[in-house]
C-alpha cells in the first residue's frame, strides 16, 4: 500500500513553501513512499524508556556575557539583498498581520 499520496505531497510543498511541477510531485511521491516504507522497519525496535538523544555530546549550554560588539554596517547587512530600498530589505506587499507589522510575539498571519 502507498504511504503518501500526491495530495499529501502537495500539502507538504505548501508547508515547506516549495513550488513543485506535476512531474516533481509525481516523482517526489514515489521517492518519499519508498523511503517511508524503508524507515518503517524501525517500528519493530523497542525504544520504551529510552531518553531521546538530541545532542551528540552531552554538556550544559554555555552562556555569553551580555556585551555589545560592532554591528554590521547597513551596507554590509544589505549587500547580499536581491531587492532593497533605501536601508530596508524589500518584499512583495505583505497583507498586514498581527500587530500590523510583526510576527514574533504574536503568531504570523
Amino acid at each position: 500500500m502507498s504511504r503518501i499520496t500526491p495530495e499529501e505531497v502537495r500539502e507538504l510543498a505548501v508547508l515547506a513553501r516549495l513550488a513543485l511541477s506535476d512531474q516533481e510531485v509525481a516523482r517526489m511521491t514515489g521517492d518519499l513512499d519508498a523511503i517511508l516504507d524503508y524507515v518503517d522497519a524501525m517500528r519493530e525496535l523497542d525504544t520504551t524508556g529510552v531518553e531521546p538523544m538530541t545532542h551528540a555530546v552531552p554538556f550544559d549550554c554555555p552562556l555569553r556575557a551580555d556585551q555589545v560588539a560592532p554591528s554590521l554596517s547597513v551596507e554590509e547587512a544589505l549587500r547580499n539583498a536581491p531587492r532593497r530600498e533605501a536601508s530596508f530589505f524589500q518584499v512583495p506587499r505583505i497583507v498586514p498581520g498581527p500587530g500590523g507589522a510583526s510576527s514574533a510575539g504574536e503568531d504570523e498571519p
Binding site: 523511503i35 517511508l36 525496535l45 538523544m53
Partner: protein, 492 residues
C-alpha cells in the same frame, strides 16, 4: 622548487618554516597545477589566486622578519564551498546561494589562515552536502582522478579529488553521514571526521546541525592530523563546541610507526554483510592482518543496532535539513525569483527554482516527519534509536580501543549509476552514518586498489574525544604500507 605532485602537507610546511622553499613559490606551483589540470577534474568552484598570493607573501614576510609563520606555513589547501569565507562567494554548490558573499569568516578557515595555511579557492560538493557522489552539485560534476568515468564520492568530492590530484596538499570538508570519509576512500586519500563539537561549526553552512562534523583531508595520516590540530578547539561562537583540550594528533600519527603493542582493535560482524564488494572486503581483511602484525590484538565486537542506522540517520538529517534550509527565501541573500506577485510566490518560486532535486526531497521528507501527529512515530523514534546506536559503541569500546571496518561497501561507481535511485544512494552510507549519530571520531585511509585501479578505504573508529587512537592506528598501518604513495594518473 618542490615536487608538488604527491607532496605531503607537513613536508611543505616544514620546508617553508625552515626557509628551504618560499610559500609564494609553492603557491605558484599549485596554482599552476590547478590551471593546467582542474579543467578535466572540476574540483574548484572558485580559484582565489590573488588572495592565495597575498597570504603566501604574508607567510614569507613573517619568516624573513623572524616571526613564527605558523605550523602550516605555506601549506596550499582547498576549502569546501560550505565554509563561509569573508569577501569570497560561498554557494554550497547551490543555485539558491549564487552570488552570496559572506561578511564573516568561518572559525575553521580563520584558524587555518592564522596558522599560515594558504587557501587556493573553494571546492565543489553535493548541493548543501546532500549526496554521496558530488553529482548533486548545481555547478558541475567532479571527476575521480583515478578514473574520469567514476564519481569522487561525496559530498566533499571536490576536496577529496583535489588532494588526490595534488591540486592542493590538504583540504577542509564536512561529514554529516560520511561526506569526508566516503570520498576520501573513493579517491585514495586520508579523511578525518573528529568528535562532534571538536571542530567549530561557526560559518559552516548547516545541513543537519546535530550531525555536521567539519574535518580535514590529507594525503597522509600526519597531514590530516596536522590540519585537525589547527582546526580543533572550543569556539565561543559555537555553543556545541567542546571545551576540552586538543590532543597531540601529529604526535599520535608518528607514534603509530612504533607499532600497536597492547592495542585492541574491534571488528564488528554487522559491518561485513552481503552486498559488500569482494575486492573491498578482501583488502580490508588484509589490512586487519597487517594491523595484527603491527602488534594489535584483533577482537570481534557487536554493534547490534547497526541495521537501524540508515533509517535513524535519514529521519534526523532530513528533519534538521528542512529546518536549516527554511532561511533561503530570497529576502536577505541569494537567489530570488524574477516573478513574485505575492509573498507566497516569493517563497514558493524562489525555493522551487533555487533548490535542486535532493534538497527538495529532504526538505519534504523532513517536513513530513516533523508534522504534528507524526513527530513521535518518526523523529521522536529516531532520537531514541540514535541513543541505542550510540550505546552500542560505548559498550564495544569497553572491550576494544578502536573499531576497524571498510569505509564504503563499494569502490567508486560510474556517473549516473545511482543518481536515479535515492534510496540505493542512501543505503551506500551504511558503514559511515553510525559514527555521526554517536558523534565519535572516525578516520578513512587508503588500504588498496581494485583490479581496475580504484582506491579502497579503511575506516578506523575511535571513542568520543579519541582522535589520537585513530591517528595512531592509521599511522601504524600507513607506515607498513605504500598505498598512500601511489599517484593518480595525470594528463601530461
Amino acid at each position: 622548487m618542490i615536487a608538488a605532485r604527491g607532496a605531503s602537507l607537513v613536508a611543505i610546511a616544514d620546508g617553508v618554516r625552515a626557509g628551504t622553499v618560499g610559500a609564494r613559490e609553492v603557491t605558484e606551483q599549485f596554482l599552476d597545477r590547478v590551471a593546467r589540470l582542474d579543467g578535466g577534474l572540476g574540483c574548484f568552484l572558485k580559484v582565489d589566486a590573488e588572495g592565495a598570493r597575498r597570504r603566501a607573501d604574508a607567510v614569507d614576510a613573517a619568516r624573513k622578519a623572524g616571526r613564527d609563520p605558523g605550523p602550516l606555513a605555506g601549506a596550499p589547501i582547498g576549502i569546501k564551498d560550505i565554509f563561509c569565507t569573508r569577501g569570497i562567494e560561498t554557494t554550497c554548490a547551490s543555485k539558491i546561494l549564487r552570488g552570496f558573499v559572506p561578511p564573516y569568516e568561518s572559525t575553521v578557515t580563520a584558524r587555518l589562515e592564522a596558522a599560515g595555511a594558504v587557501a587556493l579557492g573553494k571546492l565543489n560538493m553535493d548541493e548543501f552536502a546532500m549526496g554521496s557522489s558530488t553529482e548533486n552539485s548545481s555547478a558541475k560534476p567532479t571527476r575521480n582522478p583515478w578514473s574520469p568515468a567514476h564519481v569522487p564520492g561525496g559530498s566533499s568530492g571536490g576536496s577529496a579529488a583535489a588532494v588526490a590530484a595534488s591540486l592542493c596538499a590538504g583540504a577542509t570538508g564536512t561529514d554529516t553521514g560520511g561526506s569526508i570519509r566516503q570520498p576520501a576512500a573513493l579517491c585514495g586519500v586520508v579523511g578525518m571526521k573528529p568528535t562532534y563539537g571538536r571542530v567549530s561549526r561557526y560559518g559552516v553552512i548547516a545541513f543537519a546541525s546535530s550531525l555536521d562534523h567539519p574535518g580535514p583531508f590529507g594525503r597522509t595520516v600526519e597531514d590530516a592530523a596536522a590540519l585537525l590540530e589547527v582546526m580543533a578547539g572550543v569556539d565561543p561562537l559555537d555553543a556545541t563546541s567542546i571545551p576540552a583540550a586538543v590532543g597531540g594528533y601529529r604526535q599520535a600519527a608518528r607514534a603509530g610507526r612504533e607499532g600497536l603493542a597492547g592495542v585492541r582493535l574491534g571488528v564488528p560482524t554487522e559491518y561485513f554483510q552481503p552486498g559488500m564488494d569482494a575486492e573491498v572486503e578482501g583488502a580490508v581483511r588484509a589490512a586487519l592482518d597487517e594491523l595484527g602484525r603491527a602488534g594489535a590484538k584483533i577482537v570481534p565486537v557487536s554493534l547490534p543496532h547497526t541495521k537501524y542506522a540508515i533509517a535513524t540517520y535519514y529521519l534526523i538529517c532530513t528533519a534538521e535539513a528542512s529546518s536549516n534550509l527554511a532561511r533561503y527565501d530570497g529576502v536577505r541573500y541569494g537567489h530570488r525569483t524574477a516573478e513574485a506577485k505575492s509573498l507566497e510566490e516569493l517563497y514558493t518560486k524562489t525555493r522551487g527554482e533555487g533548490f535542486g532535486t535532493e534538497p527538495k526531497r529532504r526538505i519534504m521528507l523532513g517536513a513530513y516527519v516533523l508534522r504534528a501527529g507524526y513527530y513521535e512515530a518518526y523523529y521522536g523514534k529516531a532520537l531514541r534509536a540514535r541513543r541505542k546506536i550510540a550505546d552500542d559503541f560505548a559498550a564495544a569500546f569497553s572491550t576494544c580501543d578502536a573499531i576497524v571496518t571498510p569505509t564504503s561497501p563499494v569502490p567508486a561507481f560510474k556517473f549516473g549509476e545511482r543518481i536515479g535511485d535515492p534510496l540505493q544512494m542512501y543505503l551506500a552510507d551504511i558503514l559511515t552514518v553510525a559514527p555521526n549519530l554517536a558523534g565519535i571520531p572516525a578516520l578513512s585511509q587508503p588500504c588498496g586498489f581494485t583490479k581496475s585501479g580504484l582506491p579502497i578505504g579503511l575506516q578506523i573508529i575511535g571513542p568520543a574525544l579519541g582522535e589520537e587512537i585513530c591517528f595512531r592506528v592509521g599511522g601504524a598501518y600507513e607506515s607498513r604500507t605504500d598505498w598512500h604513495t601511489r599517484l593518480a594518473p595525470e594528463a601530461a
